[in-house]
């Protein structure tokens, strides 16, 4: 069983009391406990089981404007005492930083509403095994599938965040995740693809059979790929890739990147950065949402933020420290976005596919090719050549490149938005990018 609030609270207040006693002017502490159980299958039989049980503690101590932190997994009182001593010793010789402080008291979350993020259902390992058997059966019906690997993970967590201004709250969360990776082979090639489902509640997880079928189908259609020539072409990003554009955007508007001046979106507030049909929203209070939260990692209340309105940048993601630097109030985004999404567009998936007589549909990218200082983007890609709205043949060993500043202004979104993950996007088309191939 995951440790209860009382246990975590008693550890948190022990830490705060001790820090205060040693002379810390302020302190904040997070104590968490998490239990995970994973079962792995391969080619329809059990391959591994993995159980983890972990406590985690992190403490920040302040001496005026001086601050330092420690973290540990060892929650024995004796160890905590040694660590806090060490932490506070370090704090005292760390140089002052005028922006260091606990969050403003009036911004701290006050009322915790239930977002239904915890499902206490215990999915026994035997049931996980049954699920994975069904999944792999359905994934291996086609003889071209030569390897299947799948896993089911169940996680239960609890945490308490407390600070010396009297904030002390936390809550339990759960997650269930099933995934399947399949390998297919024909005379020309060997390809891999995947499908997964991750939810707060067990009953929302996709059916094993659907997951297996989909993974297999997506893998088989990649067989015998061709390399295409280098050209400028319209690119359609599958949902699993288009949401990555949102993540890159979110990193570029973090208050830390803005304050340091290392973002291509610095000084762009109230300016057009996306096509004017685009709206981007970050909503922390979606019931059962994978990214939902009652408060951020500093205890600050988080409300829904419209980040992009009709293509115009309206907000950065602000935490306490960088907010003070930029003269902005924290908007509860220490730790990043919550449930981030593009509002859906007004063209159907089918019409988007037919918009050009020829386009490139991307299902996977590899490499770390996003430069958030310059906005330059260049990654390896796999996908399909689309002609007249239909997949013609699979394509690989190509790269796609552009600059986010131009790409964002040329985005067209389909109307197929679904809330599956903590970052969600409809299918996306961007015109005018460069493909490098033969």
């Amino acid at each position: 069983m995951v440790k209860d609030q009382e246990f975590l609270k008693s550890k948190a207040s022990y830490c705060l009391d001790l820090a205060k006693k040693m002379g810390a002017t302020d302190a904040s502490v997070t104590v968490g406990h998490s239990i995970s159980e994973t079962v792995n299958f391969r080619n329809k039989s059990l391959e591994a089981s993995d159980r983890s049980d972990g406590l985690a503690l992190s403490i920040e101590t302040y001496s005026g404007k001086r601050r330092s932190s420690i973290s540990s997994s060892n929650l024995l009182d004796e160890n905590i005492k040694t660590l806090i001593e060490k932490c506070f010793e370090t704090t005292k010789i760390t140089p002052e930083d005028e922006f260091n402080s606990l969050p403003d008291k009036n911004l701290l979350a006050k009322h915790i509403s239930s977002l239904n993020l915890y499902d206490e259902t215990r999915f026994e390992n035997d049931k996980k095994i049954k699920y994975l058997k069904d999944l792999e059966e359905s994934a291996s019906t086609d003889s071209q599938i030569i390897n299947t690997e799948s896993s089911f993970t169940e996680n239960k967590s609890n945490f308490i965040l407390a600070n010396s201004d009297g904030f002390c709250d936390g809550y339990k969360t759960s997650s269930f995740a099933a995934s399947c990776v399949t390998v297919a082979k024909d005379e020309n090639s060997m390809e891999r693809d995947y499908e997964f489902s991750s939810k707060r509640h067990l009953s929302d997880i996709k059916q094993a059979i659907d997951l297996g079928n989909k993974a297999a189908k997506q893998t088989i259609r990649k067989l015998s790929p061709k390399k295409i020539g280098s050209e400028k072409i319209s690119i359609i990003f599958d949902k699993r890739i288009s949401k990555g554009m949102l993540s890159a955007f979110a990193s570029a508007i973090s208050a830390s990147a803005i304050a340091r001046g290392t973002s291509f979106l610095k000084d762009k507030i109230d300016q057009q950065v996306f096509a004017n049909s685009i709206n981007v929203i970050d909503k922390p209070d979606i019931i059962k949402g994978m990214g939902s939260q009652n408060f951020d990692s500093e205890g600050v209340n988080s409300n829904t933020l419209q980040l992009i309105e009709n293509g115009i940048l309206k907000n950065y993601l602000v935490d306490t420290y960088n907010g003070k630097k930029l003269n902005l109030k924290s908007n509860g985004r220490s730790g990043g976005t919550t449930n981030l999404y593009f509002e859906k567009g007004n063209i159907s998936y089918e019409d988007l596919m037919k918009k050009n007589s020829r386009s490139l549909y991307i299902t996977e990218t590899i490499g770390h090719g996003s430069n958030l200082v310059t906005g330059d983007y260049s990654v390896g890609a796999t996908g399909f050549l689309v002609e007249d709205g239909e997949f013609k043949y699979p394509v690989n060993e190509i790269t796609i490149a552009g600059n986010f500043k131009d790409m964002f202004k040329n985005i067209i979104l389909a109307n197929d938005l679904e809330f599956e993950y903590s970052v969600n996007s409809p299918t996306m088309m961007i015109e005018g990018m460069t493909v490098a191939g033969k």
Partner: protein
């Protein structure tokens, strides 16, 4: 020597007993105990932004029978906790019986000292170096707009207890010093990053004001990029510089030669043992035995002494990298490549220091032989799709080559290639093999482990460059 048994009610005798009992009917497995102490100190935006210390202690109990691996970890080292893990493993493996393999090779060689680098340098003197870095770079040139510098240090103590009570221990120091600088000129911003590190004390790397060289190198890379033009797009010849660009070898070849993917036949290399996979003159080894290198290990995380494993010899595929589990299932021996990020993770076959050995040509000859292509000197990260064999890596410093001469610097672009065929496109191997500066971390299945790479300059006849200029 770390004593894991004076911290709780668990005695060594208890641990031996539980381990032997749990693994009695299994093919392999062990109790892995780990204590790590680490620090990170960061200067950013003219200030000491953070100083963090962390300590972690825990165990992982692993039992293997046939193809099934059962694993359970906890950060509470106690009799109850170990018993719980043991019960958990027994219930997973209840229907499978094995025969425990007690054999494990021994060696007295050590590749680093038992030091704790964190305690060998005072916090004050670390802060002083970081502040000097900031002042030095900001005074150096008006275009310097942002400086980030950091120290990261760690000492990890491990003990492996096998069925029957055999115990193996290792104490592993590791440090890294990093500088990143952002320049702005005529409205353009570019960054340059450089770092050094390995398994010695901070001062071994920082003597003779070596921090200045790290600053100069980061500044140089950023300055070059300020002048960069859009990169070309399409297939062309690529000359790679020596040292760190060997992450191409790591991505293109290394991962595909790890034992697990080949046992499962999901690697593009699984049926190529003994075949020609590279041009003649190409020899690649994975070596865990180089003194004080970031990827070196005295013993791996299963207790096997590391070695220098020849992967490709003169173009022919010779060996895969193995941990005990995959080696047993493939009827071969462990190459001392079983590694894990920490006690929270299972062991996987991983790289250590992956190196292409020198040939006898010069970088000059390579450049002169290219009519149109690029010369790539430094890289950011890379990634590979093991199954299709396609891999990428991102240039952070590269130049055009026109008619045998190095031309303008080009913007960061991704290069993409095909692992099993790329080494056949190597037409020249340089005489200038160099190790990387000690900064690599390899990710696999969510686990990061420190690694090294090395190579001489090489000429690749055909590779796709992912620029924007057609």
């Amino acid at each position: 020597m770390n004593n894991f048994f004076n911290k709780s009610d668990l005695t060594r005798q208890d641990a031996d007993k539980i381990v032997s009992e749990t693994l009695n009917n299994c093919d392999d497995g062990e109790l892995y105990l780990e204590e790590s102490k680490s620090e990170s100190i960061l200067l950013d935006d003219n200030k000491i932004k953070s100083s963090n210390y962390s300590s972690d202690l825990g165990f992982g109990l692993r039992a293997i029978s046939d193809e099934v691996v059962a694993y359970s970890y906890s950060n509470e080292i106690s009799k109850d906790s170990l018993k719980n893990s043991s019960e958990n493993l027994k219930s997973t493996l209840k229907s499978i019986k094995g025969t425990y393999n007690h054999e494990i090779p021994k060696s007295n060689k050590k590749f680093y000292e038992d030091i704790n680098p964190i305690e060998q340098k005072t916090l004050d003197s670390k802060l002083e170096v970081l502040n000097k870095v900031n002042d030095f770079l900001r005074k150096k040139d008006g275009s310097v707009k942002q400086v980030t510098a950091s120290f990261a240090g760690e000492q990890k103590s491990i003990e492996i207890i096998r069925s029957g009570g055999e115990a193996l221990t290792d104490i592993r120091p590791l440090i890294r010093f990093n500088v990143s600088v952002m320049l702005e000129k005529n409205g353009r911003k570019e960054t340059g990053v450089y770092g050094i590190g390995g398994r010695q004390s901070y001062d071994d790397y920082l003597k003779n004001d070596n921090w200045k060289n790290v600053c100069e190198e980061a500044f140089r890379i950023a300055s070059v990029n300020l002048e960069s033009k859009p990169a070309p797009a399409g297939e062309m010849k690529v000359v790679l510089g020596p040292g760190w660009p060997a992450i191409l070898i790591h991505e293109a070849i290394g991962h595909g030669l790890e034992g697990d993917f080949n046992r499962k036949k999901t690697s593009a290399f699984h049926d190529l043992m003994g075949e020609k996979v590279a041009s003649e003159g190409v020899t690649i080894v994975d070596d865990g035995t180089i003194d004080n290198r970031r990827g070196s290990l005295t013993i791996d995380d299963e207790g096997t002494p590391t070695e220098r494993t020849v992967l490709i010899e003169n173009g022919i595929l010779k060996n895969f990298m193995q941990d005990r589990h995959n080696a047993r299932l493939m009827n071969t021996r462990s190459t001392g490549s079983g590694r894990r990020e920490n006690y929270r993770h299972i062991v996987l076959p991983r790289m250590r220091n992956t190196m292409m050995l020198s040939g006898n040509q010069t970088q000059d000859e390579m450049i002169k032989s290219v009519d149109k292509g690029i010369f790539a000197v430094s890289f950011g990260g890379g990634q590979v799709d093991i199954t299709s064999g396609k891999f990428v890596f991102n240039c952070t410093e590269a130049y055009e080559i026109n008619n045998g001469k190095i031309g303008s610097p080009i913007k960061g672009a991704t290069l993409i290639g095909d692992g099993p065929s790329i080494l056949k496109e190597v037409s020249m191997v340089g005489n200038d093999m160099m190790l990387d500066p000690g900064i690599g971390t390899c990710g696999k299945a969510g686990q990061g482990v420190p690694v090294g790479v090395a190579q001489p300059s090489i000429l690749i006849d055909k590779m796709t460059v992912g620029g924007t200029k057609l």
